[in-house]
């Protein structure tokens, strides 16, 4: 298993509100897994728990057989994380950001330089590699955000809405690259509100609402079970039309 989540509970310390309750999830190696749900359903919280940003109140999370939250940070070498918020130093250039995060991801100078050149080329950032990232357009910021997450060639890649707010070209470039990574064996765990995009990228998916998984399977399996043609129809039928935030 790439990811194993067992009996996971989470609430913020001092808060009575339980955000996730008794959640179980198993994601196979090499899978492309989509996690969907309305705003406030618990997607980002679950993503933060699986990446160790948050600590569970109860339950266990393992990545490739290694328990999260154990001693040391060795398990953190196994995955990359592309958060929804831009996670880089705005004052640094693309190259400087990649050099820093590459070192913190455990790469030496030589490997960092090699990966930096590769990623800048793949994601079309070569021409702006020395420009301060804070001055990038929204699409370029999304691409550098992704590049930092994959600098160390992780086995598992967590992506929290990686294409939010970008144009068609950038979305196409990002999705193509993610597919390529998945084809090469990287396990993708992805959240998005772009359901049509998710249909093209994810083989397995789960719908989460009110801190619980309410449906799980392939798109075909879910369509058959709930008699819906698209992920969007399925989403509405299971989560309703009311605003959640």
């Amino acid at each position: 298993m790439a990811v194993s989540v067992e009996h996971l509970d989470f609430r913020y310390p001092g808060s009575e509100d339980v955000l996730l309750s008794g959640l179980n999830l198993a994601i196979a190696k090499g899978e492309s897994f989509g996690l969907f749900g309305p705003n406030g359903a618990g997607k980002t919280t679950l993503m933060n728990l699986m990446t160790g940003v948050l600590k569970p109140s109860a339950g266990e999370i393992s990545l490739l057989g290694h328990k999260m939250g154990g001693s040391g940070k060795k398990v953190n070498r196994l995955f990359g994380f592309v958060p929804q918020d831009f996670s880089f130093y705005r004052e640094l250039s693309a190259v400087e950001n990649l050099e820093f995060y590459g070192a913190w991801a455990g790469l030496d100078s030589k490997r960092t330089k090699k990966r930096t050149a590769e990623l800048l080329s793949i994601l079309g950032l070569e021409d702006v590699k020395d420009k301060e990232v804070g001055k990038f357009s929204g699409g370029m910021k999304r691409r550098i955000n992704l590049a930092i997450g994959v600098i160390h060639n992780p086995s598992i890649l967590f992506l929290d809405e990686p294409t939010v707010g970008v144009d068609v070209q950038t979305r196409h470039a990002i999705i193509s690259y993610l597919k390529e990574l998945n084809d090469n064996g990287t396990t993708l765990i992805y959240t998005s509100h772009q359901l049509s995009e998710a249909e093209t990228l994810c083989r397995q998916m789960a719908l989460i609402d009110s801190g619980k998984i309410i449906a799980e399977g392939t798109l075909e399996e879910l369509s058959k079970k709930y008699k819906k043609k698209s992920l969007e129809e399925l989403f509405i039928s299971l989560t309703g039309k009311e605003f959640r935030d």
């Binding site: 996670s87 880089f88 004052e91 640094l92 820093f100 070192a103 913190w104 100078s109």
Partner: protein, 427 residues
């Protein structure tokens, strides 16, 4: 080591690209040192060389008031500007406002008569005690009143007012002493006191010997630069809290921190990098400010800075002070949740610690409990170490007594940082 090196590079680049931060860390302290030293220097010059204007309304027509004005002029602290004789107290107050004068005196019309009577009274007492016959002439009786009135502006600092008061008292005592002496001489010799004898008896002009007591036994007198440059260098080093605590908060609250938490590197590396980078900044600040004191100050008419003879001790004291400043700034940064919190608390706390530490009011002037409280300020120990080196000619062995408490305070800050990062699951 590679991770640490890359992180230091990252911190340096971010620092160098923050122009406002650099302005706060370097330009502002330089301006502060120059302004404070210049103002204090001009104040000392005011007391030492220039004179404070004193408006004098002399309603008296006798000789004693003229002698008083002459004596005031000779005190050297005040420059007399006469006002018309018929001024009322309200007119004098208005004249002070109009002429922007901080001081004025009104000599009453009966000043000479009163001083004469007072002198005669003193002379009579003396004659009696010598067993001689005092003057039996009846003199007019006066109610005990102040011989003249001093008007002062509340703006005038208390210490300066006391100096003026003692200067005027000296002048008055001279006048009274002369009058008494004349009366005594006349009573004994039945002739006037010869002017040359009077001058010899009253104007002794004995100068007080001044010796600066330093650890090296040197005779150099301290100046405003030797006092101000070390003190405000410490203040500047601690003022990096504005940039450093903001940097810690910014990193903590920005998206970059979420990513740092997911990477296989302990956040301790980030903390060590910040400490090394900003320690470098504090050392550079000290170098810039000391260099300015040595080379720039003499060019702008201020006394030049003399470095201590024990440079090793100076470097060690500066490194520990810098490390303490950095530790304090990071400690504030790890507790603050917003940059406004960090900057607001940081700036105010540094001013409070400066006051406690004796940068603004000397520690030796503090009383009882306040002096104990001042020991809690790291700036106090830094300042004492610097004063030992810059003013007393101390060596490393002399400043250890100040550096050890400073080092302990630094370790306490480090421990608090560690515990808070641990509590927040960041290391």
């Amino acid at each position: 080591m590679y991770k640490l090196w890359v992180t230091i590079k990252k911190d340096c680049k971010i620092l160098l690209r923050d122009r406002t931060g650099i302005l706060l860390m370097f330009v502002m302290p330089i301006i502060l040192v120059v302004v404070v030293t210049s103002i204090q220097n001009s104040t000392f010059q005011l007391i030492g060389k220039s004179k404070l204007p004193l408006l004098v309304c002399n309603k008296d027509t006798g000789q004693a008031s003229l002698q008083l004005i002459g004596a005031i002029n000779r005190v050297g602290l005040l420059k007399v500007s006469p006002l018309p004789k018929n001024e009322s107290p309200e007119d004098i107050k208005q004249a002070m406002k109009d002429k922007d004068a901080q001081l004025a005196i009104m000599i009453p019309a009966d000043f000479s008569e009163r001083e004469g009577a007072k002198a005669q009274n003193s002379a009579n007492k003396s004659l009696k005690s010598f067993g001689l016959q005092p003057d039996s002439t009846r003199h007019k009786a006066f109610l005990p009143e102040p011989p003249f009135t001093l008007y002062f502006s509340p703006i005038l600092q208390e210490s300066l007012r006391f100096s003026v008061q003692s200067g005027l008292t000296s002048a008055l005592q001279l006048v009274e002493g002369r009058e008494t002496l004349r009366k005594l001489y006349y009573a004994i010799n039945e002739k006037q006191l010869p002017p040359d004898l009077e001058n010899e008896m009253l104007n002794t002009q004995s100068a007080i010997g001044m010796v600066s007591v330093s650890k090296t036994g040197g005779l150099g007198l301290p100046n405003t630069t030797q006092h101000n440059v070390p003190a405000w260098t410490i203040f500047a080093m601690f003022f990096i809290i504005m940039s450093l605590s903001a940097s810690v908060v910014r990193e903590k609250t920005s998206g970059s921190f979420i990513r740092l938490k997911t990477l296989p590197t302990n956040y301790n590396v980030g903390m060590v990098s910040k400490q090394i980078t900003y320690l470098g900044v504090t050392l550079l600040q000290a170098l810039v400010i000391f260099s300015m004191g040595i080379y720039l100050f003499p060019l702008i008419g201020l006394p030049g800075l003399n470095l201590p003879s024990d440079l090793t001790a100076l470097v060690i004291a500066t490194v520990i002070t810098g490390w303490c400043a950095v530790s304090y700034a990071i400690m504030v940064g790890v507790f603050a949740t917003t940059q406004v919190q960090g900057n607001g608390f940081g700036a105010v706390s540094i001013v409070i610690l400066s006051v406690m530490g004796g940068l603004m009011v000397p520690s030796f002037a503090m009383q009882g409990g306040l002096r104990t409280v001042s020991n809690l300020s790291p700036l106090h120990w830094s300042l004492q170490a610097y004063y030992d080196l810059f003013l007393l000619g101390g060596k490393l062995s002399d400043v250890f007594v100040n550096l050890i408490p400073l080092f302990i305070i630094t370790l306490v800050f480090q421990l608090v940082i560690f515990l808070q990062l641990k509590r927040k699951n960041l290391i």
